[in-house]
Symmetry: C2
Subunit: 460 residues, 2 copies
């Protein structure tokens, strides 16, 4: 790589940048282009277009879980839409994805009093027998407490986890492994407090794991409020009896597709700057936030550049991943299929933690690539979105690339409420704001364009 | 009344106070007593007691709608609890209350795509025929828009209201009268955007009205998100077909009870300072906020004073109203039954807009009574709850008294999120905070005690 060979960072501390003057000046010269992109998105021909296209999409299809006909129809729709927007090389690439089906589900507190509890079965959970499961419950706050309780107390029971929310990263293990740990002690089902800092009695679903040689038991999310209530009842010595019914089942994998569109580079058509989000969602709400917004700023960024007649040196490739929610399945297939092209990827981008007000980019990659990105972010002053953070946070699908040293970035945005809606019925279009989406599309288009058009590759 | 005869405000502007020095000094002398009350509630023997007793109550009974056996059992429980807390003259007084029963309910969007919609039927609504109603929908933002649309467009349709939220007071008319206005134009049912500024796909129920000579049609609340989605679909020209099923029905009124407990005044046992909240709730969530918190600070205020051995000159009476949600039904019966005792009521208090962090009191009544209350509120500095507002807001049941000139106050508290939970499944114990409840109980007990113990009556 040209840029790496000049060894610019040899005598510079790792947290400081010392880009060659020529490169700094080159980046600064993109100011009018970046302003044009921002202006078109925020005030011009593209104003509210990301919101409008996203609203139409999520209203038409609703939620889009991997393995569903609905997701496949929404992919067909996207292929048409990308072609209508004059994007290039529009096509799909196959990925075999899990097919988990929720079916009907219900849960009742029977003792100490009758109350229907709001639940959402967790992805990959098996169902209950057709008559449901009726069992007494024990309530714990942690895996440690469960272990202490021991097999005698847990066997034949429904284990309720009322783990406190610390952060998504730290707390999600209860959703992911709660059923395994309870089953090891003979539990017959688990109800897991939703992984969220805020609730209006709203359960949040998400993927969970089973382990070989550990009995698979049904598992569902309950709201913060219900978990806390059951915990209080348990501590008060109430006899807690719960009825759980779930039709959930895992069917054989089916073929799905990643959806791809490009603006082909005029100088290095084989070099790729990838911008992405995932098109699939959970089977609740509308998947407008997770990750409709990320997917739609990714293809609209290209559509905007196309309208403005901006074709960079390298190819800009928008990828709308499939089956992210079941464990980055679409991205894994894509990375596998392109395992011999890795050198072609100059830079990878994903937005999968909200498209609220954009603040900048979070980054993983080499020090020198980070320095270039910081310089590019200075151009985003009109958006007030110049923040640079590292490591990258919120680009799960592109970690296949960043893990092998390809520099990448995710959207930094004012997403303090992201986990309020995440994987819940509340992930609907109302969460998305037209002006924020315009600004996200602008940031996404401008930064991807500049990276793709620079005279130098992004240093590995 | 002694105080009124001295005419202290004759030459004082209405917004200024000029209390007699003796009275100002008298009020100031309550400082150690008020500090003792606050200290006992926040740090002492009563710490977390309001929260604990409320949690046990709402966990045991859950929601408590008027007309239900559950509400009556919860009233029996309260009578026992008030007696166990050594309160005096514990008894109930009858009130005939509506009995509306929700039954099962469901709603499906059939076209342009199939999706189960989260609804809550509105109180007093009739049900649908047993096969449900399937009809096309029209969506409006206001009554004006509905009128413009006219009978031809509305007849045979389900009217969806997607009214923007301005404030509860200004927006609630759509819940209250939406069915009437739609039925006048021949609509077969209405779905009304929930009256709330925030939602996680959460519908909010509440009372609604029918009008004589206007056909009664079923009516239910939908979430903000769904109302907005249906509106977008309607504006896009989609053919919206909805299936609505509701078993709701109005049964004959049944006898319920207001629950009363006292600390009898040592000098003027016939003069009453009333502190109150309502014990009934909607039939969703746990009724912990609306109005478990208000009811529980009201009787715990007396229990706290009793423990501290504080008996004021006048009688302190705690009233836990029944059937507030159906239109202040318990309070109306109580006021009617006490119509010849009105002179006995010195001051009335209610908390029915949350028991978040207390800020002070809102007040309705004479200028002079307001001046006394302002002076008393100065004693609440240790709680940082000295704010005085007027007119009173959040004391619906006691308006029967304030409307005839009896001074009254409601709890001012940091209730910015009150309507996020109000009448929804999210009105659960998780909303309530132990420290805030201690502080509310302290403010409630201290201000009620001082008013009840002053040498002068509250001026009318």
């Amino acid at each position: 790589m040209l840029f790496n060979t000049i060894g610019l960072s040899k005598y510079v501390p790792r947290d400081e940048c010392n880009l060659p003057d020529d490169l700094t000046k080159e980046i600064a010269r993109y100011k009018p282009i970046v302003e044009g992109i921002i202006n078109a998105s925020v005030n011009g021909v593209f104003k509210k277009r990301t919101w409008r296209t996203l609203a139409r999409f999520v209203d038409k299809f609703g939620s889009r879980i991997a393995g569903s006909d609905n997701l496949e129809q929404s992919i067909d729709y996207m292929v048409d839409l990308l072609k209508k927007n004059q994007l290039e090389n529009v096509h799909t690439e196959q990925a075999l994805v899990p097919k988990w089906v929720r079916g009907r589900e219900s849960c009742w507190l029977i003792s100490p009093r009758l109350e229907k509890l709001n639940i959402l079965g967790l992805g990959s959970s098996i169902g209950t027998p057709s008559k449901g499961i009726t069992a007494h419950a024990v309530v714990v706050e942690s895996f440690e407490e469960l272990q202490k309780m021991g097999k005698e107390a847990v066997e034949g029971k429904i284990v309720v986890y009322n783990e406190p929310y610390i952060s998504y990263e730290k707390t999600v293990k209860y959703r992911g492994y709660g059923a395994i740990e309870a089953a090891k002690l003979g539990a017959v089902a688990t109800l897991i407090r939703s992984v969220t800092p805020f609730s209006i009695d709203s359960p949040h679903t998400g993927w969970q794991h089973y382990q070989e040689n550990v009995t698979q038991i049904p598992t569902a999310a309950i709201s913060i409020e219900v978990a806390e209530m059951l915990h209080r009842m348990f501590q008060a010595g109430d006899d807690i009896l719960i009825y759980l019914f779930m039709e959930a089942r895992n069917l054989p994998p089916v073929m799905s597709r990643n959806t791809i569109a490009e603006i082909i580079g005029h100088q290095h058509p084989d070099k790729v700057v990838l911008v992405s989000g995932h098109l699939d969602s959970w089977d609740v709400g509308q998947g407008a936030m997770d990750d409709g917004g990320g997917a739609f700023i990714s293809w609209n960024a290209l559509a905007l550049l196309k309208i403005l007649g901006l074709r960079p040196r390298r190819t800009l490739r928008s990828v709308l991943w499939t089956a992210e929610e079941e464990g980055l399945v679409g991205a894994a297939a894509y990375f596998h299929d392109h395992r011999n092209d890795v050198a072609a990827f100059d830079f990878v981008m994903e937005s999968d933690e909200g498209t609220f007000q954009p603040l900048g980019l979070s980054f993983s990659g080499s020090h020198d690539a980070g320095c270039i990105l910081k310089e590019i972010l200075k151009l985003m002053r009109p958006l007030n979105a110049t923040q640079f953070a590292t490591p990258m946070d919120g680009g799960p699908d592109i970690e296949y690339f960043t893990n092998v040293g390809i520099p990448g970035a995710a959207l930094l945005n004012a997403n303090e409420r992201y986990f309020w809606y995440h994987h819940s019925q509340g992930d609907r279009m109302t969460v998305e704001d037209p002006i924020n989406l315009d600004m996200c599309t602008a940031l996404w288009a401008a930064s991807a364009f500049v990276v793709a058009d620079l005279s130098v590759d992004m240093p590995r």
